[in-house]
Subunit: 419 residues, 2 copies
């Protein structure tokens, strides 16, 4: 299995087509903003990637090898994808729905959705014999890249913004990455990583320009299409930072529809933090993307200058989609609810998705009877400080941890008599 199922790379701005080539990352005409998209020979894939063929394959995301831009022999050993989808009836009722499904991508090897992209990025770098891979990231792409690179003995260089929380830095350091913490915003951090990749000749894993990464992200959509294709939810919801994740999920859903695994396509709900919502704003007002300040505790979606904004807007439009914006307080409330009502502990950016679903219900975007699947993109252990804040906030003044001396009377003082 090689890359023979790929027909071309197409520029998402000018629609020019180019043959697949190792050194081609962005459109030669449009420059860095001309992000390329991989196109496949879907007729051929339809004959080869049948339901019967899939039933004999492993559950990880390399099962969709015909729809990935690299040979499986380069795949890192860590098991990516195949994440569970849980029904969450109690949480559903709380946010005003009858049916809510949670796809827990925090179950990936480094505990985030980004493992999907990083595993493909590292595989492509290996196929091209690249000794070093680099990226800038708000945190999850970074720790994910560091882990995937470590698993195959590849050097990684990671540019993180000042804002990245300690657990994510701990992951980077422990995986042995070269970690450069840039004393500035995510935007400066991104630009510096681009310059350094050019200067040092490192393989550039930035989703914002590398056409292969979104192919990894789309596997979440492929999985939803394969698992739920005969009972597709009305909506698939995911939070939006750079824009690449929502575009990837949509691409995967479309491909599974095209191949007949899904009977219909869902609509897409994109959720942004109120203080970091350039894509939501552009979509609502049908105006060009405007850079903005990014200010939210949901560090994974704290992006004021989205590099994949066009792809995200295109996905939202194609999907007859909608957007919702949420406050940090709503995010923290959703974090507590998702954990305490469904047993799934997520990071703020994933809680934002649940908060956004509730917003969309309250605003009438989503009807009570419509079914929704939330893609939860990161594990709550990634940001335990926010979790404690969420627990304190929802404990309404009292502490969520009760200190007690080691005797039963002390317990009884706190909890009262047996009922």
């Amino acid at each position: 299995m090689t890359t023979e199922h790929i027909t071309s790379l197409i520029c998402t701005l000018c629609a020019s087509r180019f043959p697949l080539h190792d050194s081609l990352l962005t459109c030669p005409t449009c420059g860095d903003s001309g992000i390329l998209d991989v196109e496949y020979d879907m007729d051929r894939i339809g004959r080869e990637m049948t339901a019967e063929a899939l039933s004999r394959r492993n559950r990880d995301h390399w099962r969709y090898i015909e729809l990935l831009p690299v040979s499986a022999e380069y795949a890192p050993p860590l098991t990516v994808g195949g994440t569970p989808i849980y029904p969450a009836p109690t949480l559903a009722r709380t946010v005003g729905l009858e049916t809510l499904l949670l796809k827990d991508d925090g179950q990936n090897p480094t505990a985030s959705f980004k493992d999907r992209a990083s595993s493909v990025g590292v595989a492509v770098a290996r196929a091209q014999n690249q000794p070093t891979i680099a990226c800038s990231s708000t945190g999850n792409a970074a720790s994910s890249l560091a882990g995937m690179a470590a698993s195959v003995g590849m050097r990684s260089v990671i540019f993180v913004p000042q804002r990245a929380p300690e657990p994510k830095l701990a992951q980077l350091a422990i995986f042995g990455a070269t970690v450069l913490r840039v004393q500035s915003t995510y935007e400066d951090c991104f630009q510096l990583s681009m310059d350094a990749c050019r200067h040092y000749g490192w393989y550039n894993r930035n989703c914002a320009i590398n056409p292969h990464l979104v192919e990894g992200k789309k596997t979440a959509g492929l999985e939803i299409g394969e698992s739920l294709g005969r009972s597709m939810p009305d909506w698939v919801a995911v939070s939006v930072g750079d824009g690449c994740t929502i575009a990837g999920i949509w691409k995967g859903l479309r491909e599974m529809y095209q191949l007949g695994f899904a009977d219909r396509l869902p609509r897409i709900l994109g959720v942004q933090a109120e203080q970091a919502a350039p894509i939501a704003h552009a979509f609502r007002t049908d105006t060009p993307l405007e850079p903005c300040e990014a200010n939210t505790l949901a560090d994974s979606i704290a992006v004021g200058v989205p590099r994949n904004g066009h792809k995200a807007l295109k996905a939202l439009r194609e999907a007859h989609g909608a957007v919702a914006t949420v406050t940090d307080e709503e995010i923290l409330l959703a974090l507590k609810r998702t954990a305490s009502l469904a047993g799934v502990f997520v990071e703020p950016a994933a809680a934002a998705t649940v908060a956004g679903i509730e917003r969309a219900r309250n605003e009438g975007t989503i009807a009570r009877g419509e079914s929704v699947l939330a893609v939860l993109t990161g594990n709550g252990l990634k940001d335990t400080r926010s979790a404690l804040e969420s627990a304190r906030m929802t404990a309404a003044g009292s502490s969520p941890i009760l200190d007690v001396s080691p005797d039963l009377d002390a317990v009884q003082t706190l909890l009262g008599d047996p009922s």
Copy 2:
């Protein structure tokens, strides 16, 4: 599928047999130290749980329903077990082996091995219509119980010792458990939870006395037996705190051998922290268990009075096993190596297992040509402080995170010219 495959409960001290009964937890004759063990009708199970039957089941640990003490209808929705096994050739060479496999149980829903036990505990409590489930724990059993209980809307009451690190407390609080932090040792914490369970009539999830929990833990052994039964490694290694985990894994391995899924049994390596090693000491000197102080940064195995010590010693003896003890410094070094050489980020108690394998190699217990599987029982995100300490220690004086201003010259000053 109900509990009809169970023949009896047998006391691990006096070997008396009792019929399965809801209210029976420990041996009526021996009291609290008479831990009971579930016995199955293996002939019948051999006819029903065939390789062919398993091939049609889901990958989670409820696939072994005939060998579990509760009907699958009570299983919580979260996907437990089916964790990946990775070959780790570079890490193998570093610890002096040719073949080292890593079973990453940090991939469970709440990021630890303990989800195996908690899912079974919650299922049994549901089957018995219990509204509240309680336990004491060094941390992982607690967060796991809180998550599993939350997923089915059951109340949980958790007793944790002072030592539990913040990420684990964050998990408890966010899952909505009633968290009692006992201002004392694990031993006092355990006793208080026992007293409170009796007083309040809560269902007691303590592995130390509840015979059903070890049945959940054994599923790791069942999975190893099913996956590797035709090429069983020479050793299975795991770190030891209370003793229940190693006993559970051994029970699972034995059952898969008995059912013909495995051609042979591995030997077992039990690893303890040097300053919390009562089981290792008793095994080495063939003397009764002596309580001791527990002093190690590996909080999950910081147990001075192991409640399942007898079961652990029995497993070690039956398995022609061995023990190794490791220092905190060796644990931190193994933590860094496991992450940077295999891409698997683990908590200190799991790193102890890798450190113990190296110790056992150096002491000649394990030969270079023997193959070893390490069960890694918890995700590194559970204790990021130790991870940062490990990264700092192994960075030899320099910081593992490099602060840099946002320009290429600053990067070049730190990293030098392109090669």
